[in-house]
Point group: C2
Chain length 246, copies 2
DNA sequence: CGATACGTTGACGGAAATCAACCCCGGTGG
DNA sequence: CCACCGGGGTTGATTTCCGTCAACGTATCG
């Protein structure tokens, strides 16, 4: 496997976290033609209204999907980590109903839709797997809705941190219950539907309860059980096959 | 086409609202074996934790997906009308991460997963269409998130009513900007993440602004432009092909 | 060394929750 | 027939969570 293609490794790790992969399926994935691109922080990858003809694999960095309201408020819809294809839905929904942007400098790999279609034609199981991935995406949205609608800020933050921990662990980016979270409190607030000021206060609460620390870019979970309880977190909705999560 | 299969008509109308259907694809849909069932109001169709081997087509009535929090609060995730297959995702997500229940007495038609898989194998375009349907489902969730996170109750209700109007119109269940909405204010509140009391007050506002009336089961939109403005509603995210929406 | 962005804190106000009472209306059963 | 009941809608009083505004601290950087 030549150097250029190890970028697909992140994707393979991610897909293996949600279903087993056959060797020839991995091989087919590694043959996917990629258009690599480095994008600086805080820049749109695709914007609402675009009609992309390729989808974007996050090789590393952190991206998010978001929508702006007319009054200029931003709602972040999801965070996307190494191995995610955040705009896979553009395969069958031609125009983007939201934007996708970077939160930090990202390495991206664009895959043309026609190449994805060809891949899925020759490997139907991979097609089902990509479908499954978009379905899990929707399951995450559902939990997000419950949090926004029925949980208070304290619980919402806890839930989001639990989700990030589990997803990052699935692609081996967690060590000792700590991971890189290179976002501002304002961005966290935009994801949780609260103000930056309030996010700050609730984070202080979580620290005071000895559930987490967050210094610089690294978030460390001090009390995994406690954080899950605080967020009413049950990882079932992530539909992972690797069950070493607790 | 025998009587038993006209139940599929609702599904065909729905699918045609999101993509064109070839005659032989319609024919294949009409050959789908259905298990019909009438379910009384306020009863679960599938529950969180279930591992269904069939999916459920709403022939008529009104269903919703929901999640209960530990404190017993309910968050309704989506409403489902004639032609919808609310648990299509169970095709590839084996265990339900939420529940699906009726709001009024419903006629349902269950389709076995293996029959769906066979259909999609023989008609790949239908497979893509079902995938597209679940992607639109996710798009609706995204708008729901924006409403819950960044819009106030007044705007949220308006947006939901706009969405219902457009979706019902796509399956020809709207006449003169009026449709049947057989739910209580409490159920509406559970969908919008507010309390029943507050839902009541905001509905009074909407009536006072001459945007809607809601007497008994029938909701009538008096000022379609105004309601869309109030809800910041833009139907793009529903990805309909029939563009007679305004 | 200002400039800027982010984090933090306090004071105030507003949207919505909660609690409670009351009304209306369509069953239902004595 | 009517009393009773219960669910839903309506209203008011009070509380809570959270937003907004504003000030200030702190760290990084050209």
């Amino acid at each position: 496997m030549e150097g250029i293609h190890h970028h697909t490794a992140a994707l393979i790790r991610k897909l293996e976290s949600i279903a087993p992969l056959a060797p020839e399926e991995k091989a087919a994935l590694l043959r996917l033609p990629l258009r690599l691109k480095s994008v600086p922080a805080h820049q749109d990858i695709v914007s609402e209204g675009d009609r992309p003809c390729e989808s974007c694999l996050v090789v590393n960095g952190l991206a998010c999907r978001y929508i702006l309201t007319e009054e200029g408020k931003r709602q972040i819809l999801s965070f996307h980590i190494s191995g995610d294809i955040p705009d896979l839905q553009s395969l069958h929904l031609t125009t983007m109903d939201h934007s996708l942007g970077t939160l930090v400098p990202c390495q991206l790999a664009f895959i043309r839709h026609e190449d994805l279609h060809a891949l899925m034609r020759s490997h139907p199981r991979l097609g089902e797997l990509f479908w499954r991935d978009t379905l899990i995406d929707a399951a995450v949205f559902r939990q997000w809705i419950v949090g926004l609608g029925r949980r208070e800020a304290h619980s919402r933050i806890a839930h989001l941190l639990c989700e990030l921990l589990v997803r990052l662990r699935a692609v081996e980016l967690v060590e000792d219950h700590a991971f890189t979270l290179p976002i501002t409190q304002g961005e966290l607030a935009d994801a949780l539907g609260i103000s930056a000021v309030h996010a700050n206060r609730v984070l202080q609460d979580l620290r005071a309860e000895n559930l987490i620390t967050w210094r610089g870019d690294t978030l460390k979970v001090l009390d995994w059980q406690g954080l899950q309880r605080a967020g009413e977190f049950d990882p079932t909705y992530l539909h992972l096959v690797k069950k070493e999560a607790l």
